[in-house]
Assembly symmetry: C2
Homo-oligomer: 156 residues x 2
DNA sequence: CGTGTAAGGAATTCTGACACG
DNA sequence: CGTGTAAGGAATTCTGACACG
């Protein structure tokens, strides 16, 4: 399953995502004028423009930040207060990214259902997540030996 | 913690992400000419253009697809074969999204460490994921009562 | 303070075509 | 088949300014 993570890590890496001002505006509901002003105030940032590049380039991190600022402003906060609120949430966002990037070991098959191998639970057992039909998530502990047996090879 | 998921779900919803051909090209390494040709062949798709909109608009789904096609082509596959390989992986991508969107119940604090509440393990216990300093992920089972007690309120 | 708009120049995207193979 | 390029028109982004408040 190392094959999966190696290949797919780059596919899921949101840090590769880049946007120009028009898309970021349509994605978040903030106007281009607002985005330029927020950047001038230092509330958000765009990537350094190499050489003679004209258009601003925003990253996924900025997309998240703008989305949060917009959300808090729509809730009644002033721009400055909304930016402060968003900054506090930033830590949680980073934490979630760490959990996601560390916890995914690959897919497996448990009791005939597709499961996600979440890695070692303790020295003897591996944690699996299963998606039942009711829309929730079930968790199963299986022996490490059984885990590697259950973990299916992806189509080469 | 319902507060967190309600507010942040829209922030993390990658389906809101949109790109134009230039960004998608720079993000994936495929040329604009390639993207137009692949679309003409039906291997990828761009969003319907409303009214007189000129520029193509791509979604995150297409970003993932293009990344995979590019990866397999760089590995030596022909365009058609690479697209077939990518299509097979698509199912796994969708599965991973379902696991992520269902499994996140919010943040908690376990043994003084930040943890991710992954929801019910069984009728009595809640599953928590903890990030130790060694870079891995540890899992803990706590009683449901303790879980709700440990789950910290996010800054309002 | 925070955002809208009109203004002119620069960069992007569009399509259909010619090219090579 | 699969991609590059030159060509001209259309849409986007840029900055600094004027406006309202």
């Amino acid at each position: 399953m190392a094959q999966f993570t190696d290949e797919m890590r780059k596919v899921f890496d949101v840090h590769r995502l880049v946007f120009r001002i028009g898309e970021l505006a349509s994605m978040t509901g903030a106007s281009p004028r607002q985005l330029r002003y927020w950047e001038k105030k230092g509330l958000i940032s765009s990537r350094e423009r190499e050489d003679g590049q004209q258009a601003r380039v925003y990253t996924f991190k900025t997309f998240v930040m703008v989305s949060m600022i917009k959300y808090f402003m729509d809730s009644g906060y002033t721009l400055t207060a909304a930016a402060q609120q968003a900054q506090q949430r930033e830590d949680n966002v980073r934490l979630l990214h760490r959990f996601i990037s560390r916890g995914m070991q690959g897919f497996a098959e448990v009791d005939g259902q597709i499961a996600l191998n979440l890695g070692a639970f303790d020295a003897q057992q591996t944690l699996m997540a299963v998606l039942p039909d009711d829309g929730g998530v079930d968790y199963r502990l299986v022996s490490n030996a059984e885990a590697s047996r259950l973990t299916r090879e992806l189509p080469a």
